[in-house]
Point group: C2
């Protein structure tokens, strides 16, 4: 039995790649080209703000749905708090305001009027200006202060799905934008131990999610003092390695101690009859994760979407060259899509699209390949006669079409999707593990980071595991190479050593890397 | 077999009601009291903005999920566009800007600095100010202008879930708030007919959703010119009747003609080889729907949540008075909740909460009753021994507890929920149908609307079906009673008549009502 031959072979089999430049040629430009070719997002006319197009937003919806389930399973409930934050709220926590005042959108008026030239102008100034939330500790804390009276009201376990704004001057689609979508968890606890345990639990939720669902391996760690969230006692993070060896901070979980509860008066009457301040946490991930997925899995032919976050799992392309074949092919395609839709993948329906548009077959195939749909299934008249379907797996580096008996494909489609998910994770994990380099001296450090990481092609770098202090002298040396201490890995061995820059004693190796 | 008797009878069996004032005593205050007693939302420190608490937000999540499914079934995809709109965009459509300029939040600065008194002040003024979106026709249109080239790109069927701001001065939780959550559909079509057909299709989607899911009967209609969305050629709406007889506009669907496409340059090369402007639509519903659910179903004992939007369908209360009974009861409860969770209600899991908090039984029961959980199930040691559960249906006006064999309850729980859903709809439908009054003269009109509707108790009013023109003279008469033309009902008979105020000929009766 012959598979349909209407389309060209995927370009990956030849020298020409779909994405130009390739990763090797210019990594940052390759990234932008993938976002464009896969129709994930675009820049808007509002400086630094992006438009998330349906394919990109579809990935975000899958992320939301899976994470939301995990949050609820760990006892959290969703709520919604105001977009605007009074300046006086922000000012209550000194470190916090210092961290966000430089990049916030300020609302000062509540009306527009036409000026003398007919152009609209702000009118009716507000008594107290507001900022658009860059994060919601202060506004949510104001509600918590009302909600908590007694230890019986604790813990309070809240999550919010929302948009936030940080007026970044240098932006990059998904990775750093002035407005982005995220979730922010905010919790109050009776004891320090409960709050620390929540902080670590949510870090674990993020790590499992990243690895199981995004197929993106991560290192769990603790931030050093200089890299903490403004106002936090301790910040934990997951760090992923992109294909150029740079780090992406993919999620953070903060133990806030009593800093915010004292600033905002979140008090409770304890079991001992005394009034105490609660212990709080906050944790978040954002649309930046989509940038992480792109830079973990996409290749020189375009985007590769892990099946568990794919808006469409299977796209079916009917191949009709003669009008007399149309009915036979279309009816086989309708039946095939119905049967696949009836199956489940990780307890969710399998999403199928039938693309019967009358655009050229090759273009159509390539459109879906560049978008990273996990499975492309072509069905032509000879496939129908032979009882087969012609299947392309997006994770297959050679991009080979394979003719599979129809019944076998239908019964095994969930298994194929699970296998693609596994292949993607294993490939990324192997790449990360082989790019973590132990370094024991400043010279070795300089041998790894030969540039400041701002050039086009930066494929050769990786993570460095070294003893390095958080002292100004060490941080200055790191900064010269645009390297930061990404984290102190949680599962790193307790191995004493000396800072490669200052000789100071340190108790554990840290991860050093350039980052997004 | 005796049901457990730990708790008091629901107050509805006695003279004392849980909500004070009652609907009869003061309807607007009753509304606020229900929102508070059911823990749905609260006012925030940001003027006019609400905090949607977990129980209220849980209802919104169910609304989102169901509507989202309906949008996708009708071919729409979600996307996300910037929160901020440049003033120049807004200005492109003259009627549109006139409609929103009076109540918008204006962002003028992008940084805060500490002033001489240490207080934060706005800094770094923007070259062009932005407004926070009150609706997104203009910003989404800017993207559409880039996306559409040829008739092959049409239709474009997009939906956005988002927050929006309209700086209302008089606000009421859910019904009218400065910030609210909503969805806004935006579509582009090749022909006028396609766009009109989309507009009507989405009106039908809203109507079915309101009736099937919110159990809220609605009248589908067309707005008169004076009540249209700013910039629309035609606005369709669904209008629901609240228990005080006032109307709530629960959803709108706009045919925008070529007004926005011309203002924004959304052009395409047609099949005829000529360049034309697309035909657009927009349509939306918001968190206001939750206000509608409250005022349709809640009673003097608190909230009543229709099962299809209930965050929790069944709450189970273990009744343990003696420590020796604890294990037996808790194990029966765990098993019961597991079995109910395994069942489905409208293809979604049945959400079960076990409330084992050690607060007093009566308070606990009442807390859930006031929140409107559809089914409250009590399980005490004698119930376990007798193989029964003690069930309270929230739709039962007498609030009677009923002892039901455990196996029967489990196998029938989805049916009971469906029955509650039906009872709620039928009750509301009967109320609405019996409160629509045909009126044929100004005198009859004045007999119905005896006040301007601003008093506390307004239980006696309803909808008036009358011939009434959209002329300034008629509108003035209506305004004196705070009445508006709600809509021209779509399924109203084509019955010619004369305006009750002006004598002008009209072709159909319209709905007149006071409204929220």
């Amino acid at each position: 039995m012959q598979p349909s031959k209407t389309q060209q072979k995927p370009a990956s089999q030849g020298p020409k790649k779909a994405i130009s430049p390739t990763r090797d040629e210019n990594y940052p430009e390759w990234y932008q080209a993938v976002v464009r070719a896969a129709d994930l997002a675009e820049n808007s006319d509002v400086r630094g703000c992006m438009v998330i197009k349906p394919w990109g937003y579809g990935i975000w919806e899958k992320i939301e749905r899976d994470l939301d389930f995990r949050f609820k399973e760990t006892g959290h409930k969703n709520a919604y708090f105001p977009l605007l934050i009074p300046l006086s709220f922000l000012q209550k926590e000194a470190e916090h305001v210092a961290g966000f005042a430089k990049e916030c959108a300020v609302v000062t008026h509540r009306r527009l009027v036409a000026g003398p030239d007919g152009k609209l102008m702000p009118a009716n100034p507000l008594e107290e200006p507001f900022i658009i939330r860059p994060t919601s500790e202060t506004i949510i804390g104001a509600s918590f202060a009302k909600w908590v009276q007694s230890y019986r009201d604790l813990p309070i376990l809240i999550n919010q799905w929302a948009n936030v704004m940080r007026w970044e001057m240098r932006t990059r689609l998904f990775l750093r934008t002035a407005e982005f979508l995220w979730q922010e968890g905010h919790t109050c606890h009776e004891t320090l131990e409960d709050a620390v345990s929540e902080t670590k639990q949510m870090l674990q939720v993020y790590a499992s999610f990243a690895e199981e669902v995004l197929a993106m391996p991560v290192i769990q760690g603790e931030k050093t003092a200089g890299e903490r969230f403004p106002g936090a006692v301790n910040t934990y993070c997951i760090e992923a390695m992109m294909q150029d060896g740079k780090a992406l901070q993919a999620g953070t979980s903060h133990f806030l101690g009593q800093n915010f509860s004292k600033a905002q008066g979140i008090k409770f009457l304890g079991r001992d009859g005394k009034e105490s301040f609660v212990w709080t946490t906050s944790w978040g991930v954002s649309t930046r994760l989509i940038g992480g997925v792109i830079m973990t899995h996409a290749d020189d032919d375009g985007m590769v979407v892990p099946p568990r976050v794919a808006p469409i799992h299977v796209v079916i392309l009917p191949i009709v060259r003669k009008e007399e074949d149309r009915e036979k092919v279309m009816s086989a395609v309708a039946d095939l899509s119905k049967q696949i839709r009836a199956k489940r993948f990780f307890d969710e329906r399998i999403d199928v699209e039938v693309d019967a548009k009358d655009t050229g077959g090759g273009d159509k195939f390539w459109g879906h390949f560049k978008k990273g749909v996990p499975l492309i299934v072509e069905v032509g008249p000879r496939d129908v006669d032979g009882g087969v379907v012609c299947v392309t797996r997006r994770d297959d580096l050679a991009g080979k079409r394979k003719s599979i008996p129809r019944a076998e494909f239908i019964s095994g489609v969930d298994g194929i999707l699970a296998d693609i998910q596994k292949v993607l994770f294993d490939r990324a994990k192997k790449r990360m593990d082989s790019s973590i380099i132990q370094v024991n001296s400043e010279k070795e450090f300089n041998d790894v980071f030969t540039s400041d990481g701002e050039g086009g092609n930066a494929m050769s770098r990786g993570f460095v595991l070294a003893h390095c202090s958080d002292s100004p002298a060490a941080v200055e040396k790191l900064a010269a190479k645009k390297v930061t201490i990404r984290c102190i890995p949680i599962d790193g061995p307790a191995e004493k050593g000396k800072c490669i820059f200052t000789g100071q004693e340190t108790s554990k190796r840290v991860i050093l890397a350039q980052s997004y």
